[in-house]
């Protein structure tokens, strides 16, 4: 049912000739990343303070210690789809001879460098498949997105740290999903076994460490096999497309599901598949920039029309849109692909612990009742 996006550069190859491997001892990880950074800018998951639980992706600098033992709070989405991105800069220039004559100078802010995201999880990468369909697959190609997408490599961790909010296996992925990855990192006793998955990822393997021992390779294989057998989450989203339609005008249902929502933007800002954006001109005196910034369908200003009307006046309609977009409208438009990677961040980070799985399950009940 799920169809990964088309990213030519990181097609996963099963070709054995490309399976170069390296072992990074746990205490040499920072050094390995320093070597890597000599060749390509690297983003890593780091904690910004000793007493913080949360982890963010930041450009790697010597001295940083990557945190690999838990899912990040903030996303590597930032690397490809920054929270704010300048699309162009502009300037009004007066002709000194004729001040009434004003010329507008525009400069497009394009150009992306190749980067590698180290230590992302399968869900982080899968999020981009949703983006790909919208930003690259249709009649209009978003070049700002495309150039960054194509220049970003992912070294993805076989995921062992799922918690009760995770449900990646329910939406077509899983803890050992390697779709979209260029390098595969398997945590083993004392360190990590890294292997190349794509032509572009392959050359970086040898930079990261010495070839692993046979035991390490065997241990990695065992962990990969265990992870691919593990089912994370038990949501069955199959009835949601119809359920959303049946429940669309069921005000009491939406009220009962999301009355506790605070209408803040957390769920959307920590979501690997949320791609809604705003465009604003930020101007000062005669110059400024046109910027794209993350929007959130949870905010009151979302779809607030110039007339003053908002078709989604309260949090109930707004949350309905969030669920519908991910589990109903998107799969309907894009061959059944669910716009959710099951990372569970919206559940975990929600200030009032709203559980999107519960909403989707309940949508389905009505669909089941129809059948």
């Amino acid at each position: 049912m799920l169809r990964p996006g088309r990213v030519k550069n990181s097609d996963v190859s099963e070709d054995e000739s490309m399976s170069g491997k390296a072992f990074i001892p746990q205490d040499k990880l920072a050094q390995a990343l320093e070597r890597l950074k000599e060749k390509i800018p690297v983003w890593v998951p780091v904690s910004q303070g000793a007493d913080l639980w949360g982890v963010e992706f930041k450009p790697f600098m010597p001295g940083m210690e990557p945190v690999m033992d838990r899912q990040s709070t903030a996303l590597p989405k930032e690397v490809i789809f920054p929270q704010v991105q300048t699309l162009m800069t502009f300037q009004y220039v007066k002709d000194p001879e004729n001040p009434a004559q004003v010329e507008l100078k525009l400069e497009e802010a394009r150009g992306a460098e190749e980067v590698l995201v180290f230590g992302a999880r399968p869900c982080d990468v899968r999020g981009f498949f949703t983006f790909d369909r919208v930003f690259m697959d249709g009649p209009f190609v978003d070049n700002y997105y495309k150039e960054r997408r194509e220049k970003t490599l992912f070294a993805v961790l076989v995921c062992e740290e799922g918690d009760d909010a995770c449900f990646c296996s329910s939406v077509g992925s899983g803890p050992a999903d390697k779709a979209g990855s260029d390098l595969w990192i398997t945590p083993v006793e004392g360190g990590y076994v890294v292997e190349g998955l794509s032509e572009r990822g392959e050359p970086y393997v040898q930079l990261l460490g010495e070839p692993p021992s046979e035991e390490q390779v065997a241990a990695a294989l065992k962990i990969q096999e265990e992870a691919s057998r593990r089912k994370v989450g038990d949501l069955d989203p199959s009835g949601a497309v119809q359920g959303q339609k049946d429940r669309f005008e069921d005000r009491e249902f939406w009220k009962s599901m999301v009355n506790q929502c605070l209408s803040c933007g957390v769920c959307t800002y920590v979501c690997p598949t949320c791609y809604c954006f705003n465009i604003t001109d930020e101007m000062r005196h005669s110059h400024g920039e046109r910027m794209r910034s993350w929007d959130s369908c949870m905010f009151a200003g979302y779809t607030h029309e110039a007339s003053g009307h908002n078709p989604r006046p309260t949090k109930r309609e707004r949350y309905r849109n969030r669920v519908g977009h991910k589990f109903s409208y998107f799969p309907e438009k894009y061959d059944g692909m669910i716009a959710c990677c099951g990372c569970g961040r919206c559940i975990r980070s929600c200030p009032v612990s709203i559980d999107i799985r519960k909403v989707v399950e309940n949508l389905k009940e009505k669909a089941d009742a129809r059948a």
């Binding site: 910004q48 963010e56 709070t73 910034s293 200030p351």
Partner: protein, 322 residues
């Protein structure tokens, strides 16, 4: 955990439910480490309500934020569960005439502190949490790997470690016996004092590092029961335009300053802004500083006396220190 109190809560709710247009309380969330707010209006749903140190949310915001949780008819009431800190928000909202006391039936829950799940996870990475309970001075957590133990004090939210008002200041009924305050109200600004020992440069570095993490999700604003401008927040107005969409620390600092200054002399220090922050920024600290100033200059503590007028909502030439 806290089964006796939860049972008592159920009895008390059942006794008055026919007179209420619903009650807002807490129920079990997606795992045993999380509760979630719940609105109950039918007797068969009363069993969902619970009380435990995981009932972290201040529910008073639901009375004022769109769409407000209010009685459907004149003369009726809605029920609300409050801890000591939450009750101060009710007092502040009543002072500012956002709510009327006679429309509320308040279930008061004297509180020994709420658990900060992130602190717990930091100490013990948990998977498949099935039960959480307090045993003496320990928090016991059961997960897929067994039973883990953590000193109770190390599991509590920062706001709870500096709590001077654990017992509800307003209530119609108390669900459990009052508890001893952890701190005297004179001592609650310890962390503000510590920060002020630092040089200006150090403090700037501290706040820059903290605010750099802000993702501008506005959870702090939306969770604040006293952020009553709601959808008309100055942060999002386009004309006049106070803030750009940029992500620089100065933009974020400006937002948090606006939030703090709007709460000067009003903030009841429930700590919700800090609790809900996904990036763990100690944003309540800014409001604590302003409250400390309010106390020193105006001898006022917010959310204590329903009859008092918050000092910035009035003019009194006799104010000491004026």
């Amino acid at each position: 955990m806290f089964e006796a109190e939860t049972k008592r809560l159920h009895e008390l709710v059942k006794a008055v439910l026919p007179e209420l247009d619903g009650i807002v309380g807490w129920e079990q969330g997606f795992d045993a480490l999380h509760a979630t707010p719940v609105f109950v209006s039918r007797e068969e749903d009363v069993h969902r309500l619970m009380w435990s140190p995981l009932c972290v949310h201040n529910l008073s915001g639901y009375l004022v934020k769109t769409p407000p949780f209010l009685p459907r008819e004149e003369g009726r009431k809605v029920g609300i569960c409050v801890k000591g800190c939450d009750s101060r928000s009710l007092v502040a909202l009543e002072q500012e005439k956002f709510i009327s006391r006679e429309k509320l039936y308040i279930f008061g829950l004297p509180c020994e502190g709420t658990v900060d799940w992130r602190r717990v996870m930091k100490k013990i990475p948990l998977r498949g949490v099935s039960a959480v309970r307090r045993e003496g001075t320990d928090l016991k957590v059961e997960d897929a790997r067994g039973v883990h133990s953590l000193p109770w004090e190390e599991s509590l939210a920062r706001r709870c470690l500096r709590c001077a008002h654990p017992n509800p200041l307003v209530s119609d009924v108390l669900v459990r016996d009052p508890v001893e305050p952890r701190m005297k109200k004179e001592d609650v600004y310890g962390l503000v004092g510590e920060l002020e020992q630092q040089s200006l440069e150090e403090r700037l570095a501290f706040w820059s590092a903290q605010l750099d993490r802000c993702i501008r999700c506005y959870a702090c604003r939306n969770a604040c029961p006293l952020c009553v401008c709601q959808d008309r927040c100055i942060v999002e107005t386009r004309d006049p335009k106070w803030l750009t969409q940029k992500m620089g620390t100065s933009e974020k600092f400006m937002f948090h300053m606006i939030h703090s200054v709007h709460l000067a002399g009003r903030c009841t220090e429930c700590g919700e802004c800090e609790r809900v922050c996904p990036m763990e920024i100690p944003v309540t600290l800014m409001k604590e500083k302003l409250n400390q100033v309010t106390r020193e200059l105006l001898d006022y503590e917010a959310g204590i006396d329903p009859e008092a007028v918050p000092p910035l909502l009035t003019f009194n030439p006799d104010e000491h220190q004026m």
